[in-house]
Symmetry: C2
Subunit: 248 residues, 2 copies
Amino acid sequence: MTTARIVTAAMLAIGDELLSGRTKDKNIGHLAEMLTMVGIDLREVRIVADDEEAIVDAVNGLRGRYDHVFTSGGIGPTHDDITADAISRAFGVECVHDPEAMALLGAMYERRGMEFTDARRRMARMPVGATHISNPVSTAPGFRIANVYVMAGVPQVFQAMLDSLLPSLQTGTPVLSRTVRSPYGEGEIGGPLTEVQKKHPETSIGSYPKFDGKNFSTDIVIRARDAAVLAAAEVDVMAMIEAIARSR
Amino acid sequence: MTTARIVTAAMLAIGDELLSGRTKDKNIGHLAEMLTMVGIDLREVRIVADDEEAIVDAVNGLRGRYDHVFTSGGIGPTHDDITADAISRAFGVECVHDPEAMALLGAMYERRGMEFTDARRRMARMPVGATHISNPVSTAPGFRIANVYVMAGVPQVFQAMLDSLLPSLQTGTPVLSRTVRSPYGEGEIGGPLTEVQKKHPETSIGSYPKFDGKNFSTDIVIRARDAAVLAAAEVDVMAMIEAIARSR
């Protein structure tokens, strides 16, 4: 068994609309899935308002603690888009119109016969020292500064930026998982499952109740970074379910 | 104009499955909508793993800062349900089998001819000093201790617990909102909208881009606690859109 490399991450979703319930976030779940796939452990997510203080506090609270920090939202052209300013302040650097982003946006608006308004120029602002995260959907780039990756809130744009960013990131050994469906509720499997977990300390076994409006069943999810370790635990989980079936 | 009463809240969603992407959270958006309706400002959300240290840190970081803290997840009968223990530790009290919860659950399992297993008894554990949040869906109660409300992760149960909890909470002056749909993207409205926001400092005006795969349009959301203040800003936002239409 080779040594697993652990790479961690946090996400910060930014936007009043997420906290008022007006918009239901779609980026957290997508990021979680993508990171799991490439072997980055998402350890914590925070959602804060379009509030400079709150963004600065959260970014500074997270970027020292995790290998990667992904943000969504607040990089558009309107007055409530303050993420670039907040990230600049978190890093103690100036927020400026990035020349390369200005050129990209300027050319795009010229092609489309549209005016490059002051509001649109706002989208080219980023902290001094930041580099671009490309945006094939709507041109205005996200940016990275140190281990913080600043992306759009619109899901199509967030996803496109993440696709262009991910190949460049340090990743770890992916966590493998198996799901075993149990027709029995958690109350029935809780005792024996605890024993299975104890027997397989290198796995993390989660149990997720499902409720169909009348009865509970359970999805048992086994996670491990090593395939053989995972398979051994899966055998014991299945044996446990068969034992419950026989005893009824 | 009467003085608005501001009541704040945070949410802590607990569960490995939310961070692996296996489960897409549905409770955050629901809580956000419900709190907005009753006049509680949701200011921050965190998602952490089934990890005692992470839960304790988050709860203690949030409960002093906001009037209310709502948690979801980790109160079932299996080994990975550690929320009751973590909340007890956060408050420095013991985690015990609550006699009333034991009676409720015992009676329910007897009625259904099911064994009251050790795993099921686990669901009756809560910090000393906690009181129940009733659970009409599946009996096992959530609990409140001081300003922290601990609820289930299964959305149907979370929602039922929230319904039984909300009427007992201190609420504030609700935020009213109006949405004005703009056929123009943020780049076009960004400049004039900044002026409208400046003219109406008692409102909070948000601008939410929508992307149909080809073009951006914008939902402009005006929020205020006073109806007259809201209406005045709405008039100016509509006038702004008409002015853009005329200028094209």
